[in-house]
């Protein structure tokens, strides 16, 4: 079993409502689910779609062929009918769309009429459609009914019953009117966890003890703020919508100086505004974590679409020379653990840490058996209460063996905590002399850097153990690359390298990935940007050049078959 469903329509018509409901039903049935969304920067109109794949084996990419298309508007029919698989079906409501395409591939289900006849309003046709999809797959309805009950419980018993009636009407109609439908689904098993990249990143922040989050809304990073804000009460977090991104980063730094773990997030444009603040965090040695959700630039670019175009910017943004961390998780699971690691290292070394994602990873839903909270790390590195008060003297930027000076919480002791964006003395006061400047640069940069590098995990290696072809990528391309390697492994000796801890670049002592790359007869670097930014980083840091670059910069994610085809063509 490996089916794909696409729900298409105008913004505001409900493709997201149907998609969310189906993804939940499938993951609760124990299936592996992957979904991605394609939407325009508008609230109504246009053309949006929601694509869900569900299978009885792990899936982590979207496919080209669709088994069930739900057309909420006419455009969906014309634009996507060619994607239907041989046994696929397109479901639509001829009475609403005023169109009646011929052929057994089209299944006309009167969503609106069934809703009206069963006592529902116009907008409830979405639940009829959801029922109809389950009807043609022949899935058990218990899980759907359970989901409906949960969703509408707050609106009362009556509402729950009505929605179940409507779903049943859609289910029965579709089941009865599609005798030639040949879908068969596996029996349900243990429910799986269904989670997006953005949710997992926010979850990782909360599970790292974040106490303060400030941001200005910007797609695709807004979801991080929304999720954390939703949990603020329960976890004792202050979330503030700043007046701009300059304020957001400065607030995050202010809260961190005040003694709590702190974070901000934005997309490229807002991150650009944070540039000076990142430099401030570095100079004052104030830990801060920044979520950077990429979308295609320059400037406003394609606001709701995807690109990996900001890697070089994340590496080099902000003036001056200082250590930083740049992570780019490849899946929600990686986003959860890497955000936790980013917090830990930011606090341990008192540096800015950037966790990159993009619209694609942010919005895609993945399923897991679960996340292991036993793997979370948490150490409070701050100097608080008695341990601060009992010191004989305190200098915020005292020279130490490893460059890290314990960070006192202002007010916890009679000692004052002083820091400055100017070059400063050990006490934190403005200085001008050359000797202090050199010692402080040694402390901030040269002493910390090797220790930080030592914390970085090697890239993930997957596939043939002695590969002739290696495809390398970073961040959100993980799932696509992994499935492409699986698809091509029968034909080629192929493997992949995936970098999620990007900067500092992993050392080669734990795993000699450069040696591996050099031994391959073909190395390809796959990036969703125009110029191959990771390839450039690797070349700059190690001298290694990839044989071929595979780039895409139209703002759209690859479908599995597209990527597989392009890699295959490059291999020749």
């Amino acid at each position: 079993m490996d089916y794909s469903i696409k729900i298409g329509g105008e913004a505001g018509q409900g493709s997201q409502t149907i998609g969310d409901a189906l993804a939940k039903v499938f993951s609760r049935s124990g299936y592996h689910v992957f979904s991605h969304q394609d939407y325009e920067s508008r609230i109504r109109g246009g053309h949006n779609f929601y694509q869900i794949r569900f299978a009885d084996k792990p899936v982590m990419s979207s496919r080209k062929q669709i088994d069930i298309i739900v057309a909420l508007d006419r455009e969906t029919i014309h634009r996507h009918v060619g994607e239907l698989s041989e046994t696929g079906r397109l479901i639509y409501d001829s009475e609403t769309l005023k169109e009646r395409p011929e052929g057994k591939r089209f299944l006309d289900v009167p969503f609106a009429r069934l809703a009206a006849e069963n006592g529902g309003s116009r907008i409830m046709e979405n639940i009829v459609a959801t029922g109809a999809i389950l009807g043609i797959t022949g899935m058990n309805t218990d899980i759907l009914f359970g989901t409906i009950e949960e969703t509408f419980r707050d609106k009362g018993e009556e509402m729950v019953r009505l929605n179940i009636t409507l779903a049943t009407a859609g289910y029965k109609f579709a089941a009865a009117n599609c005798p030639s439908c040949s879908f068969s689904t596996s029996p349900a098993s243990e429910p799986k966890m269904l989670i997006t990249g953005v949710e997992a990143l926010a979850l990782g922040a909360i599970s790292s003890g974040v106490k303060f989050y400030a941001a200005y809304p910007m797609t695709p990073a807004t979801g991080v703020m929304n999720y954390i804000a939703g949990k603020a009460d329960k976890f004792g977090i202050i979330v503030e919508q700043a007046e701009d991104e300059i304020a957001a980063i400065n607030m995050a730094i202010g809260a961190s100086f005040g003694g709590v773990r702190s974070m901000t997030g934005s997309s490229g444009g807002g991150f650009a505004l944070m540039s000076e603040g990142i430099s401030l965090a570095a100079m004052t040695e104030t830990p801060v974590v920044i979520a950077l959700g990429q979308r295609p630039g320059p400037a406003t670019g394609l606001p709701t679409r995807t690109e990996q175009g900001d890697l070089q910017f994340a590496l080099y943004t902000a003036h001056g020379e200082f250590p930083r961390l740049v992570f780019a998780p490849g899946s929600p699971e990686q986003a959860f653990y890497l955000t936790n690691k980013a917090f830990d290292l930011a606090e341990k070394y008192q540096i800015p840490a950037i966790v990159m994602f993009d619209q694609y990873l942010g919005d895609t839903q993945w399923t897991y058996t679960g996340f292991d909270t036993g793997k979370l790390v948490f150490t409070d590195y701050r100097l608080r209460g008695e341990s601060f008060a009992s010191l004989n003297e305190y200098k915020r930027h005292a020279y130490t063996e490893n460059g890290v000076t314990p960070f006192g919480v202002p007010g916890d002791a009679k000692h004052v905590v002083v820091t400055d964006s100017d070059e400063h003395s050990e006490e934190g006061h403005i200085i001008e002399d050359a000797e202090t400047r050199i010692r402080m640069t040694n402390k901030r940069l040269f002493k910390k850097m090797p220790l930080i590098t030592n914390e970085i995990a090697p890239p993930l290696f997957y596939g043939n153990k002695e590969p002739k072809v290696i495809i390398t990528g970073w961040g959100s391309s993980y799932g696509l690359m992994k499935e492409a390697v699986d698809a091509l492994s029968g034909k080629h000796d192929i493997a992949m390298l995936h970098f999620s801890e990007i900067y500092p670049l992993p050392a080669t002592d734990k795993f000699d990935y450069l040696g591996l790359l050099s031994q391959a007869s073909l190395s390809i670097c796959f990036e969703q940007n125009a110029t191959g930014q990771f390839a450039r980083l690797l070349k700059a840091e190690t001298g290694y050049s990839f044989d071929k670059l595979l780039n895409r910069f139209d703002g759209r994610p690859y479908l599995l078959e597209e990527l597989t085809g392009e890699i295959d063509a490059l291999i020749g």
Binding site: R28, E199, S207, A247, I253, F257, E276, V409, P410, S421
Partner: protein, 285 residues
């Protein structure tokens, strides 16, 4: 009991005769008289001559970026609400580079005290016009002089319903001390604009210039009358009022957050509650 010596900081690098020197001395005396010890307050500053202020006394200090003292101070107050948080800025720092943050600090009514050392000129960068430089003056580095109307921080603050709006003058130490103490004692965002003559670069707004114009608000003046306050805030010419121009008792941003009513965020447990995390994860099934 603390003494003035307890507030001693680095030696100031300001010009002899600078208004900042008087403000510094007055501020230390005010803190001593209020009994606020150096570790009990944090001064957040940006960049400019005024922004060097916290280095020249002893206190918790975050000397950050040009224009950005208020966002840092806002979040510091939220994270560590036991601290008395003071922002010190210049006219360019606060009314120019950081203007947007000022608007929103007033809206939020965060319990931060902002002292603006207003010398109507850029001192650190050697004498360019600032947002409060008078229109038509300052022809040395602008071909036609300043063409924009000077910003009126008092009128802006009254219009924004800022919780505490006052003006004082470095040439009037007793009054200044009274204003510093009143601002720190006030619950809510407080703006004190302090005339601070720049002896090196501002040849127009000298000690003498201010002395000829300033007057103390009369005893019967009611700072809680917003309309009347707006009238006084607009007085900026031959006569300029000193004192508390406007005051209200709006609830502060920080006191409206239940989470920090009992205990500062930084004093709360900094650890992971695994059972809560597990139950959050369960919501994804």
């Amino acid at each position: 009991m603390p003494s003035l010596d307890d507030y001693k900081g680095e030696t100031p690098s300001w010009c002899p005769g600078c208004g900042n020197i008087i403000i510094l001395k007055t501020f230390k005396e005010a803190m001593l008289e209020l009994g606020i010890e150096p570790h009990q307050f944090t001064i957040v500053s940006g960049i400019g001559q005024a922004a060097k202020f916290p280095h020249y006394l002893k206190c918790n200090t975050f000397n950050g970026l040009h224009g950005r003292s208020l966002p840092v101070a806002t979040a510091l107050k939220l994270a560590n609400s036991g601290q008395i948080v003071i922002a010190v800025a210049g006219d360019g720092d606060c009314y120019g580079e950081g203007g947007n943050h000022l608007l929103h600090a007033m809206r939020r009514n965060i319990n931060v005290k902002l002292f603006v050392h207003d010398n109507q000129i850029y001192g650190l960068t050697k004498g360019q016009a600032s947002p409060t430089t008078l229109e038509g003056t300052h022809k040395n580095n602008l071909p036609f002089g300043v063409l924009s109307e000077g910003l009126n921080p008092m009128a802006l603050a009254v219009a924004m319903d800022c919780s505490f709006v006052a003006r004082s003058f470095a040439g009037d130490m007793e009054h200044l001390k009274e204003m510093v103490k009143a601002a720190i004692g006030h619950k809510g965002f407080s703006l004190v604009d302090i005339f601070q003559p720049c002896v090196s670069f501002n040849k127009v707004n000298t000690y003498e210039w201010y002395k000829q114009r300033v007057y103390h608000l009369e005893k019967e003046y009611n700072p809680e009358d917003r309309t009347g306050a707006f009238g006084r805030a607009l007085e900026f010419g031959d006569r300029i009022p000193l004192g508390i121009i406007y005051r209200n008792e709006r609830p502060t941003f920080d006191e409206r957050i239940p989470l920090i009513r009992e205990k500062a965020l930084a004093q709360q447990a900094q650890s992971l509650d695994m059972s809560k995390i597990d139950s959050m994860l369960k919501e994804f099934y």
